[in-house]
């Protein structure tokens, strides 16, 4: 019997060596790679996200957990025949135009990838046009935008307007976050969701796409 709880605990403890060892052991016991991803890795990362949102965990725990998941996925990926079947959804994420802060965006990316989302990270200083191009190229379920400066928050609204002008706004859910961003602001610019912290991103994205 596969001990998925042990894999979850290894991830929660940020022990990448143990996580990889347990995943390799599970494969030797003929566990399905997709099951290991879902019941071990993603389940562990969701718990990590909950602990972050509740205030129990901090950035270091997230980084170490994400590293454990990444190293485990490196072992599993060659054996996963249908990656799309196990992903919860596709997210395009970026820090908006004029802003080079990436820690918030990176945190959210780690959470979402660990929880089974496919994340396409556009990086920092991403223009509205680049977001539009990315939506056309990758057909994501969600567009996530981060800003840490009040001067760059208007780029979030500009991006939403650009998606509307391109006729593709209805294809995606738009979520926003970052230190100066508030629910008030998100509502005003017509975003579909606001993430107060990285840990909330998993539940928010799952809710928005119904998975």
């Amino acid at each position: 019997m596969i001990d998925y709880l042990a894999i979850q605990l290894a991830i929660i403890n940020g022990d990448d060596t143990r996580t990889v060892k347990l995943v390799e052991g599970a494969l030797e016991q003929n566990a399905k790679p997709a099951d290991i991803v879902a019941s071990g890795l993603q389940a562990g990362m969701i718990i990590v996200g909950d602990k972050f949102s509740s205030g129990e965990f901090f950035l270091p725990e997230i980084l170490l957990a994400a590293r454990a998941v990444t190293r485990a996925l490196d072992v599993l990926r060659p054996q996963l025949s249908d990656w799309d079947a196990i992903t919860r959804g596709r997210v395009v994420i970026g820090t908006v135009a004029g802003d080079i802060h990436d820690i918030g965006k990176n945190l959210v990316s780690m959470f979402l990838e660990g929880a089974g989302f496919e994340v396409i990270d556009l990086g920092t200083d991403v223009s509205a046009e680049q977001f539009v191009a990315a939506v056309k190229e990758h057909s994501p379920d969600i567009v996530g935008m981060s800003a840490l400066l009040t001067t760059t928050m208007p780029s979030m609204e500009a991006t939403i307007r650009a998606l509307e002008s391109a006729g593709i706004r209805h294809q995606v859910k738009v979520v926003v976050g970052g230190a100066p961003v508030t629910q008030h602001f998100a509502d005003r610019i017509g975003a579909d969701g606001y993430g107060a912290d990285g840990g909330a991103a998993i539940e928010l994205c799952r809710r928005l796409i119904g998975k």
Partner: protein, 372 residues
């Protein structure tokens, strides 16, 4: 009694009698943006920040990075400009590392931000150690004195230990947060060696500050509790206590720039010995109200801030703005140990007239003690 803005700010920090709430306002994001874009209000074209704030009835906060120069021995520093980027390369006998920063004052910021960090792998430890061991700190107060003269009694020139405490220098400037925490977990001894070397550099800065006319040196800041709480007790508290004790022995007070999410850091703060928490940013930009902070710290810490930056934006009505500020006065009544200010700046789309509105509301409701 008629007090200048500076006198009122200093008296509050020193727990002396004041007539009304002091107001030390910061507008450099707004000013840098609009002066670069040619969109300053017609009246304020060609005015500097102190003049604008004087016109609005507010005390001025003017930022100054440092009162020293950093020099190096036995290594070469090569700076390459590729606007808006700058690449700094330290070339030592044991290897080289590079830092890439971006500086866009036309968008508001007054300083450069790191975009790529010197530390990449374990091979860089001896290089960075060498750099720290060969760093010299040399006093340089000429620009500070110029700003002091410009501000006069209308506010404060805010300067101190650069942005970062010793461990924060490593976290933020040399490694970046992500690489830092991996290294702290994987190679603790080597990170702590760098921390010890940074403390020695920081002590040289403290000595210069101790002899300087700076009344309330800034020790560090830009904390956020999800990042800094795990390292705060072990690496921040002892250093801040040591620095505060030293500067107190020189007749000074100390402050930190407390503009981030502070909820889980609040319990540690009183152990630091720091006197002033500047740029305090409450709800809705963080999860803590000013009332909660006041209750946690009592009168032991002077709080400077209280009006979150977003309140100055047009998304909030004038009525909402007034209501927030008046409620702030109620939260801090009777009003001792509190300096009104922004958390932490006037945003580029903030309304400058709301700065004057704060001054008006202080005149109307902010006599100390405040009667609710």
């Amino acid at each position: 009694m008629l007090m200048s803005h500076k006198a009122r700010i200093l008296a509050t920090a020193r727990k002396q009698a004041i007539d009304k709430l002091p107001f030390g306002a910061r507008i450099d994001v707004w000013y840098n943006y609009h002066s670069s874009h040619g969109t300053l209000p017609e009246k304020y074209k060609d005015w500097n920040m102190v003049e604008i704030l004087r016109d609005q009835g507010a005390g001025a906060q003017i930022r100054h990075m440092r009162i020293w120069k950093i020099e190096y021995d036995n290594l070469e520093v090569v700076i390459q400009e590729d606007p808006p980027y700058q690449i700094t390369e330290w070339r030592t006998p044991v290897g080289s590392v590079r830092l890439k920063t971006v500086f866009r004052p036309e968008e508001g910021p007054w300083v450069a931000y790191e975009v790529d960090y010197p530390f990449k792998s374990r091979e860089d430890y001896p290089v960075i150690e060498y750099i720290f061991e060969n760093t010299r700190i040399v006093p340089d107060l000429s620009e500070y004195y110029r700003k002091e003269k410009m501000v006069g009694e209308d506010g404060m020139v805010m300067t101190g230990m650069d942005f970062y405490s010793p461990m924060q220098q490593i976290m933020r400037y040399w490694f970046g947060y992500e690489r830092f925490f991996y290294e702290l977990y994987d190679h603790l001894a080597q990170v702590e060696r760098l921390y010890e070397l940074q403390k020695e550099i920081a002590k040289k800065k403290l000595q210069i500050l101790g002899k300087s006319p700076v009344e309330i040196p800034m020790l560090c800041g830009n904390w956020s509790d999800e990042i800094h709480t795990p390292v705060f007790a072990k690496y921040f508290v002892p250093w801040l206590r040591e620095a505060s004790d030293y500067l107190h022995s020189k007749g000074k007070l100390t402050q930190v720039h407390a503009d981030g999410e502070m909820k889980r850091l609040i319990p540690f703060f009183l152990e630091t010995g720091v006197d002033v928490a500047e740029a305090w940013t409450p709800v809705p930009m963080t999860s803590v109200t000013t009332g909660e902070l006041r209750k946690a710290w009592g009168d032991k810490v002077t709080i400077w801030g209280g009006i979150p930056a977003v309140l100055f934006e047009p998304q909030y009505s004038d009525e909402e703005f007034d209501a927030y500020v008046i409620n702030l006065f109620k939260e801090i009544a009777p009003g001792y140990n509190f300096i009104i200010g922004m958390g932490d700046n006037l945003p580029f789309d903030g309304r400058i007239e709301r700065v004057g509105r704060v001054a008006e509301l202080i005149d109307k409701y902010g006599s100390v003690p405040i009667e609710v």
